[in-house]
Point group: C2
Chain length 413, copies 2
């Protein structure tokens, strides 16, 4: 099936927002094995939208539109599709009720243009909008399928996942589904990973293996077309085992939304343990990453940002002699910082980062030289790293390395 | 002039990346007063690209293409445009030299496909690529203008700004330019700002006033069409003065890339002063924001992440009686934290944040209740805030409020 995506909205043509809806839908459709051949963005203009629709009708089997379902005069997606297909617009009673209730609950007067949002193509399959007022719809016109979705991603995404996708799947003649696993890697680059797995990736057919880099991490999606989740699981099993055998030491989790801070929080939480962080060149990034998660307080005892030598002396009583002899960017200081914050906050583990994030050298040490310290009650060690990139990239890589290395040590024990 | 943007690349149709190039170019062209009427994304496929080009030729005056200039067989933008316009491709000597030198410097063999990157449309105006190997070009075909740019944003953006934009400006018959100022606001929402300025915005013609919200901040771009920067300055002056008069207390800076942490760093740096941060519910975000800037060490003495009560006691010696009587989320504790971190690190100012970021209540206090503390040597105060939104939104708003409030106090003195 050939599909294309049309986003309607002048704000996209002014560059006020990026067309992330098209990216999202393309990913989801690729997962279903539906090919996307074109993306188009067109403004809130009847004539130009009509020309784009006529073109799409001539070249695609499925046409997905986002945007232009709202209450204003500018919103004319439904009206234009109705004109193209010569179909009536009728009020959807459920959508109307939702709109009326929405204003009643707020004690606000409902202007009549709001009811425009309840208009749908006569004969369409309605997609309810659980996060807004304008419903979406699927309309069949001969062999062609039109799917109309709202523009705001917060409405469009749940509507697509909860209503449009199940409908599309139900249309399939043979019961089949795409079953996939996402593996998350840290500490290995995309090209190194692809090299390790090159024979698997090149020889792939079913399952397919697709790497994707989101610096400084790499993700691998392994997908198979199958009749059931059980069968899918069985088909993926040998491939996953082979990947694990070759590059298992870099895998930290499964799933699209899995993060390093998330797996560390989960692992510590299971063990009933805590950690604390002393951050020099990462400047609070580790603390910020872990505390962005709800429930962080049960595993994170706190941290210090000892960006300056004075802060290292004041907040963690680092030996001044050590700082002046080996310097702040050193394995020795990394260990002292990790041990110091652990002891100060009575945590089970302390981690630290001290290094040169750039743009300038420090203590004659090069940009990208970073020491990560890890301390438990009776052991402290430091890992020397050399990172490339901008200041922000070095900071992010350093923070993630500290989280990853602590997590690895917990897993090994 | 009617323009449109065509992005070439299958990775866009698979949703691996969003079409941020189209967003960027749309913004830049809007600034120049050039209307963008369509965005199209098409895959690395000669036939489909040709169909898209024919359509664009029929409806637009200027056609901007991004992507497909690289060395592989998949890269066929130049070849397809050459076919459409019946133009030869020739080797550009400067581009060839750059490619040869690139491989020579790295001691790597240059495969012949790399030279494909030096091919250009015969008669084109060449746009040098300072960050990659494939040059861009501007080609005039009758009244139509074709602009070919590379796909990677790190190559495309500097090429557009440094070479394509000056060329487009030089084409203008009457010497005119768009002159604009960007004002950055914090502490006022987009709708409140628009309400305050509604008569100015609605009655606008030249200069134009365009608000843009990027939560939790708002930006206002004021633009005029002018013959020179001096004249532009003069035309904007009364409008800027009126905006300043009405909502000046929320303006923290000018310019697209200006940030709160940046203006605070600049102001402290000018005064030769320092600050330190004690962060509870923001969990290190303030420290991370300020240390993401080079030169932070001259104004930022360090910080503590006292996410737990234990950390507040251990790291800052907060009175345990205070914590148990009024609770950690209180004006009193905010003041103590700010004074404590200031004194501990010998900084000129201390700032603190303690609050409920959610998703759950703390101490029976509601999600979104946040106290920001600000302390100098002989004064401490706390600001009570009530924020809405997700955990991350509340954390970001809290951190920015602390930076903004400290900056405001410095400006007032």
């Amino acid at each position: 099936m050939r599909s294309e995506i049309i986003a309607v909205g002048t704000e996209l043509l002014l560059g006020q927002i990026a067309n992330t809806n098209a990216q999202y839908l393309s990913q989801k459709l690729a997962d279903e094995g539906i090919g996307v051949y074109f993306h188009t963005v067109v403004g809130d203009n009847r004539q130009r939208l009509l020309s784009v629709l006529k073109l799409a009708e001539a070249r695609s089997d499925m046409i997905i539109l986002t945007g232009g379902l709202g209450p204003t005069q500018d919103d004319l997606t439904k009206e234009t599709v109705a004109e193209l297909l010569n179909v009536q617009l009728i009020i959807d009673p459920a959508a109307k009720e939702r709109i009326v209730n929405f204003f009643a609950r707020r004690n606000q007067p409902m202007t009549s243009n709001n009811l425009r949002q309840a208009l749908v193509l006569e004969g369409a399959h309605i997609l309810p909008n659980d996060h807004g007022l304008a419903p979406g719809m699927v309309f069949h016109s001969g062999e062609k399928i039109y799917i109309l979705l709202p523009g705001p991603p917060s409405e469009m995404k749940p509507m697509f996942e909860e209503y449009a996708l199940p409908y599309l799947r139900s249309m399939r003649k043979t019961p089949s589904m795409l079953y996939s696993k996402v593996l998350r890697f840290f500490g290995i680059g995309e090209s190194a990973l692809v090299t390790e797995l090159s024979d698997l990736i090149e020889g792939q057919n079913d399952p397919t293996i697709a790497p994707y880099a989101k610096e400084p991490e790499v993700t691998l999606r392994i997908t198979t077309l199958t009749a059931s989740a059980e069968e899918g699981e069985k088909k993926l099993k040998p491939v996953l085992a082979e990947i694990e055998r070759r590059v298992g030491q870099f895998i930290y989790g499964e799933g699209e939304h899995t993060t390093l801070e998330g797996v560390l929080l989960h692992t510590l939480s299971e063990r009933g343990q805590t950690f604390a962080a002393a951050e020099s060149c990462t400047g609070g990034l580790i603390s910020q990453m872990i505390t962005s998660l709800p429930g962080a307080s049960s595993v994170f005892s706190g941290g210090v940002v000892c960006y300056t030598n004075q802060a290292k002396l004041q907040l963690l009583q680092i030996d001044e002699g050590l700082l002046s002899s080996v310097g702040a960017v050193s394995a020795e200081v990394a260990k002292e910082l990790a041990s110091g914050i652990r002891a100060s906050l009575g945590a089970d583990y302390g981690i630290s980062v001290t290094g040169v994030a750039g743009p300038d050298e420090v203590e004659g040490k090069p940009v990208g030289l970073v020491y990560v310290g890890i301390a438990s009650k009776d052991h402290a060690e430091a890992i020397e790293c050399r990172f490339a990139g901008t200041r922000k990239q070095i900071q992010l890589r350093s923070a993630k390395t500290a989280l990853f290395q602590l997590w690895k040590r917990l897993k090994e024990r």
